[in-house]
């Protein structure tokens, strides 16, 4: 029974496909999985938009949307209808073809990323040997569509937003990759299913997730920083800073194309949180050994939603960075720590079991963090803003 529940989607697919002639079965099976992904995540997106608005409202001691349907839960439907019925404006001097392609390409690239994420036991669309690599290739190509959007609009705000976006995404691509590489170094595999499998054990009822090791914890924190920047979420939302750039690279988009951009951004957030879950939080494995009977996909999606909640929480808390602070932070702080983390992982791997490696690795990482943070703060590179002229 528990097993059936755990595998319910896999079995469902098998059962549906079994009605068809054998020659069709593989194709229809693939289509079914695609349809599941393409329906599920936009639905999740719709829910997230309401919860984000409600959560942000609560953080600011407001009520948030509460008019459409019970507790405002049907708000996304109203929003969807609104964006569908709005006029789709293409600026006269815009490059119409590229302008149209940008949101479509963004969505395609983002959806491709979901293909390699293991969302439950045996629930991965394509189990690639180099899944991680494929994922990063796909997530990096979203930068292209962002720049396409900014460039084709022929609008200074769009272009500025796109340039900021590209600069930011490329800068943070480096720490993103370097912070994930530690996992590959430990597991020796680029396959995401193998990475999940490597974290599936338990000691004293606690899981072997990588976040519970010194290097994994450091890696996770840096991964989280890099993903926030990579998905243009606050406090790294410079590419669409409303107060400076109208709406950044999608200034000239309206109606459904704008909705597609919006969707694309949230889906990117989901998929990158899913990857973070897979790399550091044990993917679909249960957090305690006595909870392993809960279906694996429930764990995956709860961890995903938890990460989304943290994203929203950060958005409600932190003000936007300045462009130079953003760059300094990426290249002078996160990157060196990522590189150091690589060394620490190597040390961890070759020191063998025992408590000594815990002490040494933690000491190195915390020491480096403290001294670097202290030094940078003292030099005023990062830390509280100082106003040279306004005081």
């Amino acid at each position: 029974m528990i097993n059936t529940l755990d595998q319910i989607f896999v079995l469902l697919r098998h059962w549906l496909v079994s009605f068809l002639p054998a020659a069709w079965q593989p194709l229809v099976g693939v289509l079914l999985s695609v349809a599941a992904i393409v329906c599920l995540f936009p639905a999740l997106f719709a829910l997230t938009t309401v919860f984000e608005r409600k959560g942000l409202a609560r953080i600011q001691n407001r009520l948030g949307p509460n008019r459409v349907g019970p507790f405002g839960l049907l708000q996304p439907i109203a929003d969807g209808i609104k964006s569908l019925t709005k006029e789709d404006i293409v600026p006269l001097s815009a490059d119409a073809a590229v302008h149209f392609l940008a949101p479509v390409l963004l969505l395609v690239a983002v959806f491709m990323g979901f293909a390699v994420l293991p969302m439950g036991r045996n629930m991965v669309f394509v189990d690639m040997d180099a899944g991680l690599l494929f994922y990063f290739a796909m997530s990096a190509s979203t930068e292209l569509s962002v720049f396409m959007a900014g460039w084709s609009s022929r609008n200074k705000y769009s272009l500025l937003g796109a340039m900021r976006a590209v600069a930011q995404m490329i800068s943070y691509e480096v720490p993103l990759l370097l912070s994930s590489v530690v996992v590959v170094m430990m597991t020796g595999s680029l396959s995401l299913t193998k990475i999940v499998a490597a974290q599936s054990g338990f000691t004293w009822g606690l899981p072997h997730w990588f976040i519970f090791t010194p290097w994994g914890c450091a890696g996770f924190v840096m991964y989280a920083i890099a993903t926030t920047a990579e998905t243009n979420r606050s406090p790294f939302d410079l590419p669409e800073g409303e107060s400076e750039l109208v709406a950044g690279y999608h200034t000239e988009y309206s109606g459904f194309k704008f909705a597609l951009f919006f969707l694309g951004e949230y889906l990117a957030m989901f998929s990158i949180s899913g990857l973070g879950t897979t790399l550091f939080l044990g993917g679909w494995s249960a957090p305690f050994s006595f909870l392993t009977w809960v279906p694996s996909w429930i764990w995956f999606f709860s961890k995903l939603m938890l990460s989304i909640f943290v994203f929203i929480w950060m958005r409600g808390t932190l003000p936007r960075l300045r462009q130079d602070q953003l760059m300094n932070f990426a290249w002078k702080f996160v990157l060196p720590l990522c590189l150091l983390n690589l060394m620490v992982v190597a040390l961890w791997r070759f020191m063998g079991d025992g408590w000594l490696r815990w002490v040494i690795c933690s000491a190195i990482l915390i020491g480096a963090y403290a001294t670097m943070g202290w030094g940078e703060m003292r030099r005023g590179k990062i830390g509280p803003r100082s106003y040279r002229y306004a005081e």
């Binding site: 808390t317 932190l318 830390g383």
Partner: protein, 204 residues
């Protein structure tokens, strides 16, 4: 240490988030159509024209009781020029009994009005005041937002209702003015009588 401020901020927002579910005084939002707050004395939206009615409450004499004398000062002073007045050819007695012009047409385009209250400040006859009515949406954005004199006319009682203190002050001033005008009229009449008597005396 680096990152301390971020954690502090996150703790603060988390406190807000959970606090808003438990403590009522955090959520100050008034859910508008269902709940309302009592209007403030100083609230102002768009201007209206005050009229004095003989028997309060019926509003039948909005035309005869209208205080406006069509002097057109407000029309000239209105910064966005949203008042349009057409002066009458004939005269009717005002509150003091003096024959005065009256507006045959008095339109305010509230889609243009910026609620600056300048018209109220400049009116020498206490004839135009600020309303507190704000639910003015209409499906006709041209005709529906152009209020004519009948739509603008509201009784003095209504004025007392929405701005009690201010209206009391205005009434006191008007009464004082009337007393003064009466006194002046009486002294003028007395003088005229005296003069007539003197002329009569001289002639005799």
């Amino acid at each position: 240490m680096l990152g301390e401020g971020i954690l502090k901020g996150m703790a603060e927002t988390a406190k807000n988030f959970f606090g808003s579910y438990f403590s009522a005084e955090r959520l100050t939002t008034v859910e508008y159509p269902e709940q309302r707050i009592a209007p403030f004395e100083a609230a102002r939206v768009f201007p209206f024209l005050v009229f004095d009615s003989k028997n309060p409450g019926d509003g039948a004499d909005w035309q005869t009781g209208m205080r406006c004398v069509a002097c057109q000062i407000c029309e000239k002073e209105c910064p966005p020029k949203c008042i349009f007045i057409e002066k009458s050819k004939d005269k009717k007695p005002d509150a003091l009994g003096k024959p005065q012009f009256y507006p045959v047409k008095f339109d305010i385009d509230i889609s243009v009005c910026m609620s600056c209250q300048i018209c109220v400040e400049v009116c020498p006859f206490e004839a135009i005041k600020m309303d507190t009515e704000f639910e003015l949406s209409t499906v006709d954005r041209f005709g529906g937002l152009l209020l004519d004199r009948q739509q603008l006319a509201k009784s003095n009682e209504y004025y007392h209702q929405i701005h009690p203190a201010e209206a009391a002050g205005v009434d006191a001033r008007l009464v004082a003015e009337k007393v003064k005008a009466d006194a002046k009229a009486r002294s003028a009449a007395d003088a005229a009588v005296a003069k007539a008597a003197a002329i009569a005396g001289e002639g005799a």
